[in-house]
Symmetry: C2
């Protein structure tokens, strides 16, 4: 693992998500990687499931905004961000999304575990929709 490459992978993840590039996000992951989002739910495993997950996620019109620096320890990067759902990106939406609840925000902390090739092998997202979703 390489600190610089791990930092870059986290930034690429944010940027690719905001560019709605699900394929690009899937490329950050190793073969047979797992995505547990949120932590405690059934993980998505392998490229097909991971790509399907992110393809759906980027279609939501959400935007990720970092709320602090990336922390790296050994082979793991941890970082905090807010997901803005609806409202930040209205103009670039291809379709009108019916959002009866209005704009929403979710605070999240993710951890990415990397392999020797600087690919993500395990992603865990810590957030809870039951207590964490803010209507704005």
């Amino acid at each position: 693992m390489n600190h610089t490459k791990m930092q870059a992978a986290v930034q690429a993840y944010i940027d690719l998500f905001n560019a709605k590039d699900a394929e690009g996000i899937a490329d950050l992951y190793a073969d047979n990687a797992t995505v547990e989002d949120p932590y405690g739910t059934q993980p998505k495993k392998g490229r097909a499931e991971i790509l399907e997950f992110y393809s759906g996620a980027v279609k939501s019109g959400s935007t990720l905004v970092r709320t602090g620096p990336t922390q790296i320890a050994s082979n793991v990067a941890a970082f905090a961000f807010t997901v803005y759902i609806g409202g930040l990106d209205e103009e670039s939406k291809g379709v009108d999304i019916d959002m009866p609840m209005g704009k929403m925000e979710i605070d999240v902390i993710d951890t990415f575990q990397f392999n020797e090739g600087d690919k993500v092998t395990a992603m865990k997202a810590y957030w809870d929709p039951a207590v964490n979703l803010r209507q704005t």
Copy 2:
């Protein structure tokens, strides 16, 4: 696990650390809990090792300041904070600490895994002194 109790345990951890109460911190942990700080190093295991670790840590005169909300997913709480080493708490220091590097800050993300009794069973701290320590 109980969301409210997990949130309260995280806040207690911050408050007890800043009150230099290592015994109080140790009480937040389950028997045979592990503390991996930073992640990737040999874990401290069990009350004696955990108490020894925090007894040393609180003597450093460090202060923890939250930098975001606590994220809870399933049985894990994740939270970001900054450690201020030296300078924030000069007046209450019992001894002068020789700090040739001056005041320092470290950004950290911790995860606490809880058991059914709302005690912490596994703590992992994500930070890296090699890249993360800021001289101020």
